[in-house]
Symmetry: D2
Subunit: 369 residues, 4 copies
């Protein structure tokens, strides 16, 4: 099922950019878990539109309403449905996108799949707005994982050609990560943040958009979570991450750089203090054979430049009898760079993947250990 993720914790994201509401239906959360509403709202605000001069001017409060599954702040063990109203809608901005598909958007491909029944207004179900549902369930999972000693945070690694300092894959820790969670524009170097924001402003001024890379770290995981083959932590995380619009690639640990290395460089030696086991380097990014090693999980994702730009673009007009070439100028309100608002979405994707693996692990726990 396309809009459904997870095996032990399973959720379905519903809604379209301009439907009455969007939201998520979640099944598989055990009973008795506390959901901190304030923390959840504050996590959702990191993704919500209209909070920064660098983002779209669409204003949505994004207040989650729990219709079921939560009693007095605790899960009751049955499905949770959360809705978020769509309030600031301007369908008139999208009248032409059915007949003239916007380059880089799903208008054309979704039209091929769903035919005239595709809800193209604002991108419909393909809109980045739908990531609010992912952030609801991911925000809950982040809280639950924090309770298990696991912290997840991401920073903006690059915007265009501007780079931030990378995570130290061995030394990254929960203190450093929690500091990032308080940043409106999370980077490790504040100089980089300024340069990146300048790059975004410059793209915006030119009617253009710009891409970037997000780097995410997950610390505090024990060794032994995750599964072989298609249940590996890489499979689980990438399956979730590619559910976010605009992601073009993902790499774990040394990632693509590993392809240029020798085994003697890439293998991480094990070391011990007599009681616990670590690796002295972390090219493996915390995952070996799909299973956590106890070292930080590190992964990076490539985010494409927002396809909505103010410049004229070549497209085709499908409204007539014959398909005709057409020049299109995209309307609507858009982010010149979706990377900053994608940061909490990436954290949410990691959180749901890890929490699902945690539930799997609970199921497999045995008497022998």
């Amino acid at each position: 099922m396309a809009s459904t993720y997870g095996e032990n914790l399973r959720f379905t994201i519903f809604g379209q950019s301009h439907s009455p509401a969007i939201g998520v239906t979640i099944e598989g959360l055990p009973a008795g878990l506390k959901v901190d509403m304030e923390a959840l709202s504050s996590f959702l605000r990191r993704r919500a539109p209209g909070n920064s001069p660098l983002s779209t001017s669409r204003k949505e409060a994004d207040l989650p309403q729990f219709l079921s599954g939560l009693v007095a702040g605790y899960t009751c063990g049955t499905p949770i449905t959360v809705t978020i109203a769509n309030t600031d809608i301007r369908p008139q901005d999208y009248v032409s996108s059915r007949s003239i598909p916007r380059p880089g958007h799903a208008d054309y491909t979704a039209g091929q799949k769903f035919g005239p029944y595709h809800d193209h207004f604002g991108g419909g179900h393909f809109s980045g707005r739908l990531t609010a549902g992912l952030c609801v369930v991911g925000g809950i999972c982040k809280q639950l994982l924090e309770g298990l000693g696991i912290t997840i945070a991401a920073h903006i690694r690059t915007i265009g050609q501007v780079e931030d300092t990378p995570f130290d894959p061995v030394e990254v820790n929960s203190t450093q990560l929690r500091a990032l969670l308080n940043e409106a524009f999370p980077t490790l170097s504040s100089a980089s943040a300024a340069d990146m924001q300048a790059a975004i402003r410059s793209a915006k001024a030119a009617g253009n958009s710009i891409g970037g890379i997000i780097e995410c770290a997950c610390v505090g995981l024990p060794a032994g979570w995750g599964d072989p083959m298609f249940g590996g932590m890489e499979n689980r995380i990438s399956q979730a991450v590619f559910g976010i619009p605009g992601i073009r690639g993902i790499e774990f640990g040394s990632g693509f750089a590993a392809a240029g290395m020798f085994g003697s460089q890439h293998n991480d030696p094990f070391s011990t203090d007599g009681e616990s086991i670590r690796t002295t380097t972390n090219h493996h990014g915390g995952i070996l054979g799909g299973i956590t090693s106890g070292m930080p999980i590190i992964f990076r994702v490539a985010v494409k430049p927002t396809p909505s730009i103010m410049l004229p673009q070549e497209s085709v007009d499908l409204s007539g009898e014959k398909i005709q070439p057409a020049t299109l100028t995209v309307g609507g309100r858009h982010d010149p760079c979706i990377v900053p608002r994608a940061v909490p979405c990436i954290e949410a994707a990691a959180a749901v993947a890890i929490y699902d693996a945690y539930l799997q692990q609970k199921k497999e726990e045995r008497g022998w250990c």
Copy 2:
């Protein structure tokens, strides 16, 4: 389920490196499909060990035996189980890997997950040998997709620092791809092939190993296959690809390079001849919003250097009361570079992902078109 893939076509890969047999159980293939056994065997030989001086010296004929689901060469509509015997086994080579985990392998993490019950001989279920099961089902899907006009092939894009010519993402076609399928060491430039093989031999001579990048193309797909969100072609393909041991990253279309681009550079203009629609560039790699555009699907995966190297490595000894540092020299028979044998595995992963999306599409077909 960790060793299970797919929603419409669903298969479970079973076996360990040194169990009586390995194989795959496949459900969801419609009745009446012809399986060309000769073509399948020839596809499996591309992955099988012992066929090249550059690969492991373990010899396995890898003859697939169909126990069920096939009658007179046609699927009968009920589950197919295929087994491949394990014949050339040397468990004595792995006696130490339980107490001294091999760096870069799953010995340690699987031991943390499964405890003393982990089958560590030859890597158990984590062995690259298990990809034979993926190649059985992927080989069948490749045949079925060929019957639908879809061709999938990959080439070795890099070995260490040596590069091959990349695919032209717009012009790549089935003729070019089919030629690659006949190559023992598939590259677009024969000069690159020679240099790459030299790099592998040199790593081997040094007791070392080396990584690389595989680039895969899928041509002939219609527009409109695939699904939004977690059912996107990227999700489906990456979920399958990370089931292959040693993969560290995946990117689609322009991939990580997209993060450094402006929207005006990355967006692919639509063009038409009045009847059909194409894009004039293919940064999107044939996928928009998770759905095929009709342009070639292009993706690249990073393969790490084989963790088994002949050089001494630092590890830990778990056999005593206290964990002790230990130096390990890995035994067993190994590929100095798994990239060449991973090429058909990547094609197989793409094939199962695409065939599953095809069955999904059949289910959704409507009367209105």
Copy 3:
């Protein structure tokens, strides 16, 4: 997932008797299907409370609100979420049911499962009220199946010891079934209806409740739908039917009577007019080997008497340090017999099971026929 049904069409029912809303999230409905809102509302009214002097006095309009997935009355191909508000709530009626579990209800067992976090008000997620979600998706499927020439209807076969005429398993047809759909108290014999209503009134007057049997028929199915083994029509239907509270048994065709027959009596001879094939009797109830034969599907379900009765009952008091015996008189507003309101629920269960099998069949369609 407990509250989720289906493989091709998949839906999750959410909500508790006294949560802000109940509803259903549906995935897998192809794009372009028309939903007739008036027909749906009229179907839901057959289940809604407060429409008969024989049912509970709780008043709920049960108006379905479509939050997503529907544009101008047509499915757009992405998830549909429908909510129904809970308005007429009296939590005070249930204060004691946490400490003194009601016999025949899930209070005790759900408390054992979910602990103090079980939402026990009005039965929580276990309330019969939740079948409104099943009726939303089942009502849609019934419409879609009608479009394919398939009609589903049920009648009340028994109430207590009062019997209605059974369906003629060979001659039952869509005309007869559609007539039943217009009945407030659907029986084949109007004399039976009167006697049954008298039996219900009599039980109510005694502060008691009464059970019954529902018989359902599905006509117009082609031969060849459904699957072997766990995907048989019996498995699919019973998996859905037991999702309705109070069902104690199900039987297909001759059902339990088949156990007392000889093969020569039970086997249904095939006959032909030269073009089509039928069976002259229908002990098999339209299903052979899990697959439809083209004959009417006939099944019966046993509905237990409503556990909520006005008479004092023996239970236990869990509120103190030691468990104590306790006598309980159940409050709340309840149906003295849930059979009449369960009729559309059974039809809904059959409809979702058959529509899921239909989508499966579409996926498997081949070129050879």
Copy 4:
């Protein structure tokens, strides 16, 4: 997936009556579980053909061969594939069943589904022989449940019109159940056993067949296992049970008799000794709201008379241009009554359903209790 069962423990049954082998692929069994091979073989012998003058003369040793997932008698945590060879095959007995479908068999309906590609020999995948795979996984689950204090056994409740004493639903216990497991023809009354066997012999002598009812009890379950709605114990068990050929109905606790009762009769009062909670009667059959109450689970299934009889039957001939009436006398070797061999299959179905619910429960375990 039709031949796949389970969510936490998931298995796929493969094979056809006359394919090289049949078997099962199992995923989800945690590592470190001991499988007692002798106990498993002895369980499988209860189902195997050729062990009684009352059963088919087809001889199959039914020795399970574990290809993977088991090391030194313990599960290693990765998929288990078990095969059973088909040795005593007589395809010549089935030459006519493609063109002249046997009444009461799946020949016609499977032919409609799979077309000419249906493997009709010996019933193909629809053969009762396939239950050997269910008994392998069910036999393992029975062992694991015994280790948790849970015993499952069934007896023959009726054959034709001959009845056995029913289980006492309150007093049935593991001692009584274990005694049944040692019986070749399990009944509570030995007089009934003799009469039932006489009824079977008499049907056989007449070239006919006969049906019966199996009653199954599961004792030792704690309260709180199972899930609401579609995950109820009734749903899980019936989903598994209808995977066995020839089952026409299932009922839990008082079953269909509940439909004729008043609430005051059917509700089971709770009682306590101050520490634990029981019900004084057990009309609910150990399940309330889909969740175990700690009382014995009791259910009954109706088994139809074997469709293969020696008497001439009316059918149709599909081999010519026009469909023609035809008279058929079924060949092959068959059981005049499948009830005795179905007994271990029913136990197996209950065992897989309960073990799956157990794994679900482990996943949901929390800190608060």
